[in-house]
């Protein structure tokens, strides 16, 4: 029986601080390391954080209202703009939800293509994360440039396949928009073989570094129960040791055919989160190898589904995908018309921020930056 969590009292000022000595600082919305237009009203006693209030809404464009006045297909390019670092996993989550809503089944080749693209997106996201977390710590962009050099190779693959490096708009209801161009899966295999060199180089650069150990050990750790209760999902949750990965917990696509493992940490501080993302990258490479090997022939989209005035039957559906940042879900309610009646996005970055204040209380301003970096938020998804 978990006792009720410390109900969030609106001003949890730490004991032992007199009011007038506080320094009120607003970190953001225009700040070098808030990963976008995100603002935190921080009250500091000297260097220690006494109170931290996140402020959202700077990038809010009411994506869900736009979806209610656009057709099902028209919303697909908008899902690229949710978490613009991993557009293909957003597309897949939306396509999965519409397929469940309309009962469409997906041919074999498309399922394999989707797994390949989702795991490539996970590599892109975690590689960029390594670069950003080091830049937040002040390593002047060296790790950032190595990470982006490798990320560009994957984005070139996306550009050849979908037409755009990031704004893929590639999944359709029942499969994908077009097939692999010739020579694409050969280049995919060379990328998979070459990627571990980059991972070894980054691990050598990152994990033994005493300064990094000092900066990330025991910073922003929370017990397992309050993380689960706070709705945290994704690498942050697994870093605390909770075995909850949707690819295994609620299998979708054809993940149950591939053998891969879920890395779990122990303490759940920033160091574990970095380490978990490293191990996840290695697992993704394993999945990619198996999926690329088992890629069947056949059509890449379900031919029976027509693109224009697509009207799913009345009903609702909630489908979710294990995105690189956590559980990305789409809840659709259809009233039989061409536009969805209600279109709700379950944003992992937004909900992972619920416990930001609990992690930062009592730590320094420099730790707040690292903790925010380790949560890995993208403002397109937080503000929708």
């Amino acid at each position: 029986m978990i006792s009720d969590p410390p109900i969030f009292n609106s001003s949890p000022v730490l004991e032992g601080t007199d009011e007038d000595q506080l320094l009120r600082v607003s970190l953001g919305p225009q700040h070098p390391s808030t990963h976008g237009v995100f603002r935190m009203n921080v009250e500091l006693d000297g260097e220690t954080v006494v109170k931290l209030k996140p402020v959202f809404g700077y990038l809010h464009r009411n994506h869900e209202k736009i979806a209610e006045t656009t057709g099902y297909l028209g919303s697909m390019p908008y899902t690229d703009r949710l978490d613009y670092i991993c557009p293909l996993s957003n597309n897949w989550a939306y396509a999965l939800s519409v397929e469940k809503l309309a009962g469409i089944e997906v041919p074999e080749r498309a399922q394999h293509m989707r797994v390949i693209l989702a795991e490539l997106t996970r590599l892109v996201n975690h590689t960029a994360f390594m670069g950003f977390i080091l830049a937040d710590m002040g390593a002047w962009g060296s790790a950032l440039m190595y990470a982006f050099r490798e990320r560009e190779k994957i984005l070139d693959l996306f550009e050849d396949l979908t037409g755009a490096r990031m704004m893929a708009n590639f999944m359709r209801f029942g499969g994908c928009r077009n097939d692999f161009p010739d020579g694409w899966d050969a280049r995919l295999r060379t990328l998979i073989d070459h990627y571990p060199h980059f991972l070894d180089e980054m691990e050598e650069f990152l994990l033994g570094n005493e300064i990094l150990l000092a900066r990330t050990r025991d910073v922003g750790a929370l017990p397992k129960e309050s993380l689960i209760n706070g709705g945290v999902t994704g690498p942050m949750l697994r870093a605390a040791g909770v075995n909850h990965d949707l690819r295994k917990a609620d299998p979708y696509g054809i993940y149950d055919r591939f053998s891969f493992r879920i890395p779990l940490g122990e303490v759940g501080d920033c160091y574990d989160r970095i380490m978990i993302r490293f191990l996840e990258m290695r697992e993704s490479l394993g999945i990619l190898k198996q999926a690329a090997a088992a890629l069947p022939g056949g059509d890449f989209v379900n031919p029976k589904i027509k693109i224009r005035n697509f009207k799913p039957p009345v009903g609702e559906s909630y489908a979710r995908v294990e995105g690189p940042k956590g559980e990305l879900g789409f809840y659709l309610v259809s009233d039989g018309g061409p536009n969805p009646y209600r279109y709700r996005v379950r944003p992992p970055s937004f909900i992972n921020l619920t416990l930001l204040e609990d992690m930062c209380l009592g730590l320094d301003l420099a730790d707040v930056v690292i903790i925010l970096g380790s949560i890995d938020i993208v403002l397109g998804e937080v503000d929708r």
């Binding site: 809404g57 809010h60 917990a249």
Partner: protein, 201 residues
């Protein structure tokens, strides 16, 4: 405990005496059936689900605005057996909860709670006391739908700026066109589009 609503409903009825809740069938092929719970019983139901039924992760809160209840009952079909808490003629606001479990595998459990009507009685008890993850999501529903969550520690607008009055996600929301207007033909493209398929009432 498996996420099948029927089984969960039985365990809830056993645990909470005089529970007003019924099973709602999802007509679409997704077949994700849900349990409609009366707002007064929401907190005990949530506490029971978290402590005894193992649903410890509240992943998603979705708000839906139902101006006409018939459409709501078309999407979440009440089976006649249950003592359907049939609404009066007016519309209402609805909150859909998706509860997941980190211990057992499977799809999430779907719960629904409905307000009395769309204008003044729009309050639903806040579940932040039971699931801390609902805190920001409830603030978002308050901001975009106007559903008032009683017992929420810090109910403020989260996405819109504080001076904003209306609730944008309501079906009858009219977007203010007070921003400066750029004279591009795009303007009449919007008019043309509005003629093609006018937004539903």
């Amino acid at each position: 405990m498996s996420a099948d609503p029927a089984v969960v409903l039985e365990s809830l009825r056993a645990a909470i005496v005089g529970l007003r809740a019924d099973l709602r069938r999802n007509p679409g092929p997704a077949a994700q059936h849900s349990i409609l719970v009366d707002p007064d019983h929401l907190l005990p139901v949530m506490r029971h689900l978290r402590d005894h039924c193992g649903f410890d992760l509240l992943t998603n809160l979705a708000g839906i605005d139902w101006p006409d209840p018939k459409l709501a009952d078309a999407v979440a079909v009440p089976d006649d057996a249950g003592d359907a808490a049939v609404r009066a003629a007016g519309g209402f606001l609805e909150v859909v909860y998706h509860l997941d479990s980190t211990k057992t595998r499977g799809a999430p459990l779907v719960l629904r709670a409905r307000t009395a009507d769309r204008s003044d009685q729009v309050s639903i008890p806040s579940v932040v006391g039971v699931f801390r993850s609902a805190e920001f999501q409830e603030r978002e529903l308050f901001d975009l739908f106007g559903i008032h969550f009683t017992g929420h520690p810090d109910l403020r607008r989260i996405l819109m700026w504080d001076a904003f009055e209306d609730h944008p996600m309501r079906k009858d929301y009219v977007a203010p066109d007070d921003y400066e207007y750029e004279p591009t033909p795009h303007g009449d493209v919007l008019e043309k589009a509005r003629k093609h398929d006018p937004p539903k009432p």
